[in-house]
Amino acid sequence: MVELVPTLLRQELERLAAENQRIDGRGQWDSRDVSLEVDCLYNAEGSAKVVWGDTIIYAGVKFEIRTPWPDRPTQGSLMCGAELRPVAHRKYEPGPPSPQSIELGRVVDRGIRESGCIDMEKLCIVPGEKVWGVMIDIHVLSDGGNIFDAAGLAAIAALRTAVVPAERFDVGEDHRLLVNGSPIMASFTRAGGRFVYDPSEEEELGGDERIHITLGDEGHLHSLQKGLRGVFTPSEFAEILAVAEQKCTKLREMVAEKEGN
């Protein structure tokens, strides 16, 4: 379903931007409240729930044993998928995965994969015969804006607390999945002509293009995505990149804190 974009909302966003304000009273680079819960679902080998403003997302990790690809006999595999099911918002319709669902899953997937936080060699059980396949599924229950950051956070938190169910598959003892680092995403949407961090539902509805940046522990870029209609300048990007660095560091600390429990 294509959502109706009210003219007055676009005007309001422009007016607020001119006065450096946002609809919900936040500053340009302020986040909404974020809460993270891990190990919250029976049956998932790793799980996390993120409540980010009005957005609620679960991520679950499952494992399977599979045969490695012939050209990489000692490497396991990683897959991250997302479903924007109609539970999450009036605008989502039932049916096969939409391009939006696929984009969300792939952007989160790239950030995790390219950061190298999962060593595929460590997922090997018997070279050429048996490797672990790690599957992360992102389940959006309520879309209140900025589902990308919430999905990325849920995915990495679920992974970092996942237990490999080796006993169930009769290949050794259960053990924590080895994850070296926490790639974290920061998203920006152009609302009223300028970029804001962590767009709300209204800012997404009345806004333009969005940019998603995934940063690793060292501050390196691991995934970038520009979505929706609109263009931006290199200097705008430099500005939001600096903001992303701070935001990702803070969220990384939140993940580390939850792991300790």
């Binding site: 029976y42 009005d54 609620i56 039932p94 389940h139």
Partner: protein, 242 residues
């Protein structure tokens, strides 16, 4: 029903493996209004099951062919999250979830005053986040609370409960092992005020006497869960100052 006769499900003291008596249900907790984007919502935790339901509407029924000129249609989707079970489920509709969605919708249409909203549809989305036997009942309970939370007029609530048979003994609310290795499962949807039944399925093997006992257990559990449903709705809205 798996029907593996050699798996022991009752202890020598007559209690079940998790220590419950035959007519004791797993712990249940209910919360209403959990999803900000939905018009109404609920989360039900029943044992290790977690079900979330969202309600959207009434809205214009699309596509046109599902529209009814004299009443609303209830469009239910029961879905299990990929990580909700032991082995990952491939996303998408399957025969099982389609059937459950159909009978759940028909059960809800029996209590919702659908004639108030001609040509409309009311969307009910049931998501199972964790499954430990009995998810269709937990989903039905969640859907009923979500509908009430959305302000949809209903002549009664519906409570989803199940009883079954293990080792030739009728028991209330099968857990996963009991469901896998038991002899019968009888999930029902009960209207707590009128005592009518809007949802009924059964598989396995039950004598008429066993059926009657299982239904007795179901009614007992339904009234217990109904108290929690009402409490969940009240907690969301009760005035703080009077």
């Amino acid at each position: 029903m798996g029907g593996y006769g050699d798996v022991k499900l009752l202890r020598d003291d007559g209690k079940r493996l998790d220590g419950r008596t035959v007519d004791e249900m797993r712990p249940v907790s209910i919360e209403a209004g959990v999803l900000p984007a939905a018009d109404g919502s609920a989360m039900v935790t029943h044992g290790l099951n977690v079900a979330v339901a969202a309600v959207y509407g009434p809205m214009e029924a699309h596509p046109r062919k599902i529209q009814r000129q004299d009443r609303a249609v209830i469009d239910v989707r029961y879905n299990m999250a990929p990580f909700s079970t032991g082995d990952r489920i491939r996303p998408g509709f399957n025969r099982r979830s389609r059937e459950i969605s159909k009978v759940t919708a028909e059960a809800l249409e029996s209590v919702v005053l659908v004639e108030r909203y001609p040509r409309s549809k009311i969307r009910v989305e049931i998501e199972i986040l964790a499954a430990e036997a009995g998810t269709r009942c937990v989903g039905l309970t969640a859907a009923a609370v979500a509908l009430a939370d959305a302000g949809i007029p209903m002549r009664d609530m519906i409570v989803g409960v199940a009883s079954g048979k293990i080792e030739d003994t009728v028991v209330l609310d099968l857990d996963k092992a009991e469901d896998n290795y038991g002899q019968a499962d009888l999930p029902v949807g009960i209207l707590p005020n009128t005592g009518e039944i809007a949802f009924l399925q059964m598989d396995g093997d039950l004598s008429i006497e066993e059926f009657n006992l299982a239904m007795k257990y179901n009614f007992k559990a339904a009234s217990e869960i109904h108290v929690l449903m009402v409490d969940a709705l009240k907690r969301r809205y009760e005035r703080g100052d009077n």
